[in-house]
């Protein structure tokens, strides 16, 4: 049992990393990784939204929607996630206005982050129970946070590198993301 949970967690964090392997949530991954500080905040916000979102989504799809109202899934998930994001936004504005400002548009955009909607939908698809859903959400969130923070720290270093002009900025960031993805491909087969 514990081993299974561990595998779900490891699987989502490393092997099926939501950003680098599933290629979801690239928008904040590229957008909020210019500064380490901001990326850590974004990671924390996304982790919170993802975990709470996947838990509540499970509850809704299981107890509220059941099998007959399955067509409401996407819609209701979006509503719930939007609510959680709104809450996070208010909380951040109160507790850390600078962070709130520097996250800017990406904070409300967590709502439309495909990773955040993708995880609950994948949960339903793979018939996870409540704990599994939570773990899957948490794992996805940790995976997202991990690569986001790693990527941000790398980009901070690249800022000072003598990168040829045509590759400066987003171009080198995309290449770097590609090479990171290469590393994560090596985990293939670790967890089925």
């Amino acid at each position: 049992m514990v081993q299974e949970y561990f595998l779900i967690l490891m699987g989502t964090v490393l092997v099926n990393n939501i950003v680098l392997i599933k290629v979801l949530g690239l928008c904040p991954f590229m957008g909020v990784s210019k500064k380490l500080e901001t990326s850590i905040a974004m990671a924390a916000a996304t982790t919170f939204v993802l975990t709470v979102g996947s838990g509540t989504s499970y509850l809704i799809s299981h107890y509220l929607l059941g099998t007959e109202l399955f067509y409401l899934r996407t819609l209701s998930f979006i509503v719930v996630i939007a609510g959680v994001v709104q809450f996070t936004e208010m909380f951040l504005e109160k507790t850390s206005p600078v962070l709130y400002q520097s996250l800017g548009i990406f904070l409300p955009l967590i709502t439309t982050n495909c990773a955040v909607l993708g995880i609950p939908l994948l949960n339903v698809q793979s018939n996870h129970n409540f704990i599994e859903s939570l773990l899957f959400g948490l794992g996805g969130a940790i995976g997202f946070s991990m690569v986001l923070i790693m990527f941000a720290s790398l980009r901070e270093r690249l800022d000072a590198a003598d990168i040829p002009a045509p590759f400066k900025g987003s171009a080198i960031a995309m290449i770097t993301a590609g090479l990171m993805s290469l590393a994560f491909m090596g985990f293939a087969g670790l967890v089925r």
Binding site: L154, R157, P164, I172, I175, M180, G186, A188, G189, L190
Partner: protein, 339 residues
């Protein structure tokens, strides 16, 4: 004006790179002894590609070509990649891998000193993902091969893919020990049965163990010359030995003994030549220990549980990504500061 200090006592970058190449010579000799002279062709090809692509990129980037070609870093990358590739890989695979290493992993990031990833490992991993079959086709050590290819035969094979008439591919290739171990374990053979195979030699792999010992020798030379510090190789080898030892103690029937993991695969090459790349590695002493131990553990996990027979390249790139974070959190205590 004002360029103090006016005196210096430093080896040049070129001399450092030359020493690294010198340290690789015993391993190359062992390679020739074990697998035949084909490796020399591979090395020459990789070197040529590296110099041409590096010069081309420097030209495009409007940087002094001669200055950076003579620093020798491109050649080191080429040699490391060539030594990591299967000895009889086709010529285009070598050219492609070296070009990826030099162009994508090194020059696009700004060349010497700016690349966040180990160029040789990026080239290797890209090839492994793209051409898994070719990358796992290793020639059998000459001692075990049914048919012994001469130097000319090997060269022809590299350039045209043709073997001498009447020789089957199987006759000159064999699975590497790590690869063989993995496939046989999935077929539910016990470890005792598997290691009966002649490819396993005394320590880890027939032939391979000799090459590994040669790397070890070269690595010790580098430590003696203060080109690399002990932190990285020791932490890396210790991590692999401890992981392998623990698993071996837990279930000797399913997990190979530490010696195989230390002397098989690219362990020794990695310990002394790959993870010791200063540019893409961490700089603090504690950071080096964490970095190397992490690579060691991850390499072992990929070897045992992953889809690839050897995980060194992936583990190195993964921890290259972590380097800025590792460095940031392992800053040593500065004079006059409390911890």
């Amino acid at each position: 004006m004002n360029r103090s200090p006016y005196i210096s006592e430093a080896p040049s970058v070129t001399s450092i790179m030359l020493k690294v190449m010198l340290a690789l010579v015993p391993a190359i000799a062992a390679y020739v002894w074990v697998y035949g002279g084909g490796i020399l062709v591979t090395l020459a090809l990789a070197s040529l590609t590296a110099i041409v692509t590096e010069a081309l990129m420097l030209k495009l980037r409007d940087r002094p070509v001669r200055l950076f070609i003579t620093d020798g870093s491109a050649l080191v990358t080429a040699w490391l990649l060539a030594l990591a590739l299967p000895p009889l890989a086709p010529w285009w695979l070598i050219v492609l891998g070296t070009a990826i290493a030099i162009v994508v992993a090194k020059q696009i990031y700004g060349g010497l000193g700016n690349n966040p990833f180990n160029p040789a490992m990026v080239g290797y991993a890209a090839l492994l993902i793209s051409f898994p079959a070719l990358m796992t086709t290793w020639p059998a050590p000459l001692a075990l091969a049914e048919f012994e290819l001469g130097f000319v035969d090997q060269m022809l094979f590299i350039f045209s893919g043709n073997l001498p008439a009447g020789v089957a591919l199987d006759a000159v290739t064999s699975a590497t020990p790590l690869d063989y171990l993995k496939t046989q374990l999935t077929l539910n053979h016990s470890l005792q049965e598997i290691t009966q195979s002649p490819i396993f030699g005394t320590l880890g792999a027939t032939g391979g163990e000799l090459v590994a010992a040669a790397y070890l020798l070269g690595g010790l030379y580098l430590i003696q010359q203060r080109i690399i510090t002990w932190h990285l190789p020791v932490a890396f080898l210790a991590a692999i030995a401890i992981m392998a030892g623990l698993f071996y103690l837990a279930d000797a029937g399913r997990f190979a003994d530490p010696a195989l993991h230390l002397f098989g695969g690219a362990t020794m090459l990695c310990a002394f030549f790959i993870i010791t790349d200063p540019v893409s590695g961490p700089t603090t002493p504690r950071g080096k220990l964490i970095f190397a131990a992490g690579i060691g553990i991850m390499t072992y996990v990929i070897r045992v549980y992953g889809g690839y027979p050897d995980g060194v390249a992936f583990a190195v790139i993964f921890f290259n990504i972590c380097v800025p974070l590792i460095d940031a959190y392992t800053q040593p205590r500065v004079f006059g500061h409390d911890k």
